[in-house]
Symmetry: C2
Subunit: 617 residues, 2 copies
């Protein structure tokens, strides 16, 4: 299996041109002298879970935020690292392949060699299994040559997502010790970075000198929080899917006889579906978050789509495009309850053909109502994270089927008088994952790779590499690192202040914020999208010319820049300090005192654990 890894290979003309592309570094990472600024001690996003997180991660919780600045930056407290001893670093791909993953490794290798040509980068072959089995490949320029700016994880391969069981953690520790690694870089999403934090803690506890660093690489785009604006791979996935969705929209409008139901990736979160909707303007999108928040049943959803089909038919339109994320099925309350019953019976060892008879009367009624193909798919054994096998459940076919049945009923009853409803279903699950990464993903991943080096050079443990201000050009990007534990939340069942904190602290997928700017933009345009066929085609992913520098719309609309705004706040505090100093008038002092007392009061109340209730789950 491993004999093929890292082999040079035949590249197409475009692949060759891409392999020659060299991403730019932001000014703070240029040259060999980088200034490290340690910020305030970080606290967990999930204030109410902070205690649990602190207890679980005694060595790695509460570490400061870190910024990497130009050596010439005028920040007195920052430290310049001038000593660059040779380092031995290991890197491993975890979880689903995301376009751009190879560039993290390239950036890291480049940074290692720039700072000390004797440093060594070892790639683990076959993902976490290679980590456990100490199977490595030394990453050289030659090996990288045909993988720079290329998609997939095929330079090293990947296997399972998890480094979690005691046995796995022990194996990882043994490997890092045996290989005398100074650092271990884990490339992955929420699951893998939770594991990275756990490894970091275990290593610290065991006094293992290997520092663990995480990198936010996941095409789902759901590792999002104050510190992380977007993930490597998300841009490419959305561009490739938007291209295909737009093609289907054009197709629908040309033939005017089909409704296309397209299922996209997105399990717990519908970010891909949302971004693609804003790119392509299909007629409708059904976000899992909306369905969960409004507790929409299968019948509600069917009715909603049928009403839309009917409204369009009244305008003589018999075509349309409807998007849904693969996780939708689990967001529908009654289907979720049914799945829970099925999974529980499967876990008890009940055989598939007996399950139907052992369901509760209510679940059984729903089950029997569903068409046979969906029944079969719902009976699949759940995945390791207890979720259903979402890629295998053809929710798009289920909805198309239910809508067809309902439209035929309306036609028969005479409440609908248009043409027969025709649906074609698509699942866009795997055809984007291996794509050549977009320029943005190439740049972002490469810079993150460089940051990993600086995190290790500063001997930091349990950090995630971060870049903020991403919506601006590379020369404005801010580079930093945040403790992974600061991004954790504790899963609770129930939302009230008295709710019990159970489960282990983890990174959880960030869902689409139904109060956020992006969702608002979607709502503003929903009627126009539905009725007016304002389809838009961003076209195939470009590497030259117009569109090649485009970034995700959600990134640009959200306009996060958390770090930037923290800096802005510090500016205000400094200004108050400058104005109100010995010599200022009584009035100024009085006004300042009164204003600042009120500000601190408000912020104290807002930051108290009992107030912070709206964290995920």
């Amino acid at each position: 299996m491993d004999s093929d890894y890292g082999l040079p290979r035949e590249l197409s003309d475009l692949q060759k041109a891409r392999s020659a592309y060299k991403p730019e570094l932001p000014p703070c990472l240029q040259g060999t002298a980088v200034r490290v600024e340690y910020g305030d001690t970080s606290s967990a996003v999930d204030a109410s879970g902070a205690h649990t997180i602190c207890r679980t991660f005694p060595h790695t919780y509460g570490q400061p935020l870190v910024h990497f600045l130009r050596a010439t930056a005028k920040v007195p407290d920052a430290q310049i690292i001038t000593d660059h001893p040779a380092m031995r670093v290991g890197v491993v791909f975890c979880g689903r392949q995301s376009p751009g993953g190879h560039n993290v490794i390239w950036g890291l290798q480049n940074a290692l060699k720039i700072h000390n040509p004797s440093s060594t980068l070892l790639g683990f072959l076959g993902g976490s299994e290679g980590l456990f089995a100490q199977k490595t490949l030394e990453i050289t320029d030659e090996i990288l040559s045909t993988y720079k700016n290329q998609g997939g994880y095929d330079m090293l391969g990947r296997t399972k997502d998890q480094i979690r069981t005691t046995e796995q953690v022990k194996a990882a520790l043994a490997t890092c010790t045996a290989l005398k690694l100074d650092g271990l870089v884990i490339i992955g999403g929420v699951t893998s970075n939770t594991d990275a934090a756990q490894l970091a803690e275990t290593f610290a506890e065991a006094k293992c000198p290997t520092k663990v660093v995480g990198v936010p690489v996941t095409l789902n785009g759901d590792l999002k929080n104050q510190f992380v604006e977007t993930n490597v791979g998300f841009d490419t996935i959305c561009k490739v899917n938007s291209q295909l969705i737009s093609n289907v929209c054009t197709d629908a409008l040309s033939a005017e006889k089909y409704y296309y139901f397209i299922r996209l990736m997105g399990r717990k979160a519908s970010h891909v579906a949302l971004e693609c909707t804003l790119q392509s303007h299909p007629n409708m999108v059904i976000l899992g978050e909306e369905v969960a928040a409004s507790k929409l049943t299968l019948f509600d959803l069917t009715k909603q789509i049928c009403d839309a089909v009917q409204a369009r038919a009244e305008k003589d339109k018999y075509h349309g495009v409807i998007l849904l994320p693969e996780g939708l099925i689990e967001s529908i309350p009654e289907v979720y309850a049914l799945l829970q019953e099925i999974h529980s019976l499967l876990m008890q060892g009940v055989s598939v053909d007996k399950i139907s008879s052992q369901l509760s009367p209510w679940a059984s009624a729903l089950f029997e109502f569903l068409p046979p193909f969906i029944r079969k798919q719902l009976l699949l054994f759940p995945e390791s994270d207890d979720s259903a096998q979402l890629s295998q459940i053809e929710t798009e076919k289920l909805l198309a089927h239910l809508v067809e049945v309902e439209m035929n009923k309306r036609l028969k009853e005479g409440t609908y008088k248009g043409k027969k409803f025709n649906a074609i279903c698509h699942f866009f699950g795997y055809q984007a994952r291996g794509s050549l990464p977009s320029k943005f993903d190439c740049d972002y991943a490469y810079v993150l790779g460089h940051i990993c080096y600086h995190i290790l050079a500063a001997r930091l443990n349990g950090y995630l590499a971060t870049v903020t201000n991403l919506k601006n050009p590379v020369n404005k990007w801010r580079c930093g690192a945040a403790p992974i534990t600061a991004m954790m939340t504790v899963k609770r069942y129930g939302h009230g202040p008295g709710a019990l904190s159970i489960g282990k602290p983890s990174l959880h997928p960030a869902t689409v914020d139904l109060n956020g700017k992006v969702y608002d933009l979607l709502r503003q345009n929903a009627t126009k999208f539905l009725m007016e066929d304002v389809y838009r085609n961003p076209g195939p992913l470009q590497f030259d010319g117009p569109g090649s520098d485009a970034k995700p719309l959600t990134l640009c609309v959200e306009d996060q820049d958390y770090m930037g705004r923290i800096k802005e706040l510090q500016g205000y505090l400094d200004k108050v300090r400058t104005i109100v100093k010995p010599g200022c008038s009584q009035e100024v002092l009085k006004a300042a005192l009164s204003a600042m007392a009120s500000v601190t009061d408000i912020l104290s109340v807002m930051s108290s654990p009992s107030h912070v209730g709206n964290t995920p789950f």
Copy 2:
């Protein structure tokens, strides 16, 4: 329905940039003076069917080939058309939307206006239905502005493929007469261009002054013959599909645990699957033509794939990508026979649930052997051309299922000792059709649009616009027109010289030539592709930079240039004439006579109807 046609619309940045792109014209079409060279009288490709074709098309069979040359070209017999009266031309989209279709209309409109600004181009709304109902939209620069170099057929829409029944032909004639059209341009594939030839004949018979012109636009790429090298849309479709196939290959190689079965478009012919294979180098492709020629059964195919899976497992490879065209299912002899029985019963009005019991014992056994989902799909009512509903039959799932069953059997028996076989299936049917057209398709379609004008200016009827030497840059392209009847064949059941010619003369889809250069190239590489994972990623369709000027590999490898070689032959004949003239030696004359007598003998024998037996069907 028609209120939306031709409306301006919001374009993405890339769409805007594309709409500003102006295709180049070959030198022969530049300026307003074009020289028309009439070649020899054309004869039918299908020599044995010539008599039938001639009888069916008395007015339009046997017309000369036509070349369009520069006004300055030194061809004494050619005629320069200098008089350009205002013309009224109608244009209609027929059949499936192919990327580039809009540019035919743009090219035609541009040529009309250049030669006489008073000319009028009317687009029929909603395809052939608009033609029958006289629904038109005048094509202006303003309307074209957001459709130039854009995909889909949504500027005008399309409905059915056919203009065939007496009623339809009458309606078309009535429309052309009522609108006083000088020309009717039909944009489509084999079916639509057969209809175009029939219309041309009917119009000539009825002394209707409207001349009918066809344009080879079909994403299947199966309107191929001596005169037509490729079709508008084929390049784009293959590029978009190759991008996705390559992504899936990268995915397979990264995770190393799945076999992907991908079904592509291609009903009677497997051109798309072949081109995509040469672009992406997947592990395996199953061409319908191979299966039909070797009479491979479902069991043969299953065994072939299982043996490949096993051979790869022995090299520790548990992943792969296998392509198949949607028409494959009809190429498998026993499935075809089963389908014929089912269709015949359906036509007799037998209800779906009774069909199984009325099949012949042999067909019934096969039917019962197939998994339920395929049984259901095989029972679908056939399409208007008597073929099965190929887009609905999940042949990829059937093969994956059969391979899985066989691999599990081998595992149990101990003849296979590898890991469990896992398959994921895809159908790439609709996600490419609406794509932005490639530069090649933009150029080719635009030039064909210009040629349509010149065909009409020369008052030619029943011709197809042609461009040859397409593998070379636009300034080397040769522009011409060929009578559609010359491309027709007569469908026969049986191949021997005594076989009865039955059925109407038609254009038939050209299948992949199993003796041709392209198939040979595939065979030479088949083992390497199968075993060595030499996946290649042509990347997303580019409009700038490397890869943007790429053309279909099949086009470049085939290196047809039929017209070029006819010209080359004429050069030889002229040379002989120059050498052998009064004054040459007896020896030279003797040698020339002997050689030419032998050449003419050979060619006479080769061209006789009884010899030409290997035409399609």
